[in-house]
C-alpha cells in the first residue's frame, strides 16, 4: 500500500520509533534493584520530560499519562484524518463514563479512577452529568446510557453498566472505522471484537451462565457473527475449537484451550489474544506508507505504558524478576 497522504506522518513516526524502549532498556528496568532505579533508567529515555512533572518519586502514573497524552496529541497533529484518533481515545471516554455512572447510580465517590485522556475532558463530562445533557456524546452511546438507566429502574445491577458500555464502545469504534473506509482499521477492530467474543464465550460456557447472558455480552461486527457462538454453546469445546481451524486466530484458541483444560484459567488465552492483536498492529512495520505504521506506533506506546506499569508495580511490591518478566508482553521494536 502506498498512500501519498501518509508520506510525512509515516517518516516522522519512523524516527520516533527509534526512541521507543527497546528490549535492552526493558531488561535493565526489570533487573533494577528498586522502583527508584527504574525511574532513573526511564530518565535516560524519551520519558525524561514527563519525569520532571512527577509529584513524588514513585508517581509513575503521571509519567505514563503525560506520555500517552503527548502521543495522542502528536497523532492528532500528523494524521491526515485527525478524527480517526477518536477511535483509539474512545476507551478512555467509556472508562470515565462507567466510573461516573457508577458514582451517580450507586452513590459512591470514585473520582480517583477518572483518567483525563479521552475525547471529552473529565470536567466537561462532569458537567454533562450535572445537567443531565448528553447530546455531545455519540448517538450509539446516548442510546446505551438510556438503556442503562431503564434497566437500572427495574433491577439495579452495576454489571449492566459495564456490559452495555463495552458494547457501545466497540459498536462506535466499528462505526467510526467503517466511516473512514479504511480497511486496515476495520479489520483491526473486527479482530479485537473476535478476541473479546471468544473470551466471553469461553467464560460463559465455563461457568454456565446461560444463553441469555451470552447474548448480552457478545459484541456485533466480529468476523464470526453472534449466532455462531450461540450455536456452539451446547457443544463440546473441542468442536468449537475445530470449527475455527480456518480462522487465523485458530492457534490462539487452540493453545489457550489446551492450557485452560490443564489449569482451568484463561490467563494463557488472554495473553495469546493480546499478542494476536498486537501482532496485527505490528503489520505497520512492513507497510511503506499507510495508516498501519501510525496505529502500530500508537499501540507500541500504549504497550510501553503497560510494561512500565507492570515493572513499577512489581518493583514496589518486591516481586521476583522472573515473575515480572513473565508478565511482560513482547516489546514492539
Amino acid at each position: 500500500m502506498f498512500d501519498n497522504k501518509y508520506l510525512y506522518p509515516v517518516t516522522r513516526t519512523r524516527v520516533l520509533e527509534t526512541k521507543l524502549l527497546d528490549s535492552t532498556k526493558v531488561d535493565r528496568m526489570v533487573e533494577a534493584k528498586d522502583a527508584d532505579d527504574v525511574i532513573k533508567i526511564l530518565g535516560e529515555t524519551e520519558y525524561a520530560n514527563s519525569i520532571s512533572e512527577m509529584s513524588h518519586s514513585l508517581d509513575y502514573e503521571t509519567v505514563i499519562s503525560k506520555e500517552i497524552e503527548n502521543t495522542y496529541k502528536y497523532m492528532r497533529e500528523i494524521l491526515p484524518e485527525p478524527e480517526l484518533v477518536d477511535i483509539f481515545l474512545l476507551k478512555y471516554d467509556i472508562h470515565n463514563l462507567k466510573v461516573m455512572l457508577k458514582s451517580s447510580l450507586l452513590d459512591e465517590d470514585n473520582d480517583f479512577l477518572l483518567r483525563d485522556l479521552g475525547t471529552i475532558p473529565v470536567s466537561k463530562m462532569k458537567e454533562m452529568f450535572k445537567e443531565k445533557d448528553f447530546r455531545a456524546l455519540h448517538p450509539i452511546i446516548i442510546a446505551g446510557l438510556e438503556e442503562i438507566l431503564n434497566s437500572f429502574e427495574n433491577s439495579p445491577d452495576p454489571q449492566m453498566i459495564d456490559i452495555i458500555l463495552d458494547r457501545c464502545q466497540y459498536d462506535t469504534m466499528y462505526q467510526l472505522a467503517e466511516k473512514s473506509k479504511n480497511k486496515f482499521l476495520q479489520d483491526f477492530i473486527k479482530s479485537q471484537i473476535d478476541m473479546i467474543n471468544v473470551r466471553s464465550f469461553l467464560r460463559v460456557k465455563g461457568v454456565n451462565l446461560g444463553r441469555d447472558y451470552l447474548a448480552k455480552v457478545l459484541l456485533q461486527h466480529g468476523n464470526l457473527d453472534m449466532n455462531y457462538y450461540e450455536k456452539y454453546l451446547d457443544e463440546s469445546l473441542d468442536s468449537f475449537k475445530d470449527s475455527l481451524w480456518i480462522r487465523d486466530f485458530y492457534s490462539v484458541v487452540a493453545e489457550g484451550l489446551e492450557s485452560y483444560e490443564k489449569n482451568k484459567t484463561l490467563t494463557r488465552l488472554e495473553k495469546l489474544a493480546d499478542d494476536y492483536i498486537f501482532n496485527i498492529a505490528k503489520q505497520g512495520k512492513y507497510v511503506a506508507f499507510g495508516i498501519e505504521p501510525l496505529v502500530g506506533y500508537l499501540m507500541a506506546k500504549e504497550n510501553e505504558a503497560k510494561i512500565i506499569r507492570i515493572i513499577m508495580v512489581g518493583k514496589m511490591n518486591n516481586i521476583p524478576n522472573e515473575i515480572i518478566r513473565e508478565r511482560l508482553r513482547d516489546v514492539y521494536v
Binding site: 508520506l7 509515516v10 519512523r14 511503506a288
Partner: protein, 164 residues
Amino acid sequence: MTDFMNANGGLILAFLGSAISVGFAGWGSVIGVGMTGVAASGVVTEDPSNFGKTLLLQALPGTQGIYGLLIGFIVWLKIGVFGDALVSLTLQQGWVILFACIPMGLVGFTSAIYQGKAAAAGCAIVAKRPEELSKGMVFAAMVETYAVLALLASFLMLWFGVKL
C-alpha cells in the same frame, strides 16, 4: 490547409516532440521530487541531522527532468533553433522526431513518479537506520535504469535516425 501542413507540419511535429520530452519528464520529476521532499521533511522534523542524507534521496527523481531537457535540446539543435533560421522539415521527418521523443517523455514521467515512491520509502529507512542510506539509494536508483534506457533510445533515434 494541406499546403500549410506540407510547409510547416514537419516543424510543428518536431516542436511537439520536444515539448512532450521536456514536459512529461519534467512533470514526473516534479511529482517524484515533491513526494520525496514531503517524506524527507518528516524525518528532518524529528531528527535534523538527517537533512543531508534525505536530500540525496530527494535529488534522485530529479534526473528524469534533466534527461527530458537533454532530448529537447537535441531536437532544437537538429532543427536549427539556435542557428540563423529553422531548417525546413518534411512531414515524415517531423513524425520521426515526434516518435523519437516519446520514449523519454513517457518513461521519464512514470519512472520519476515510481522513483519518487522508492526514494520516499528510502527516507523511512533513513528515519529508522540512518547508517543504511546506501541501501535506500540503491532501491531508488534501480528505477533510474529505465529512464536511462529511454534516454538512450530517444537519443539514438534522434542522432542517427534523423538525417537533415
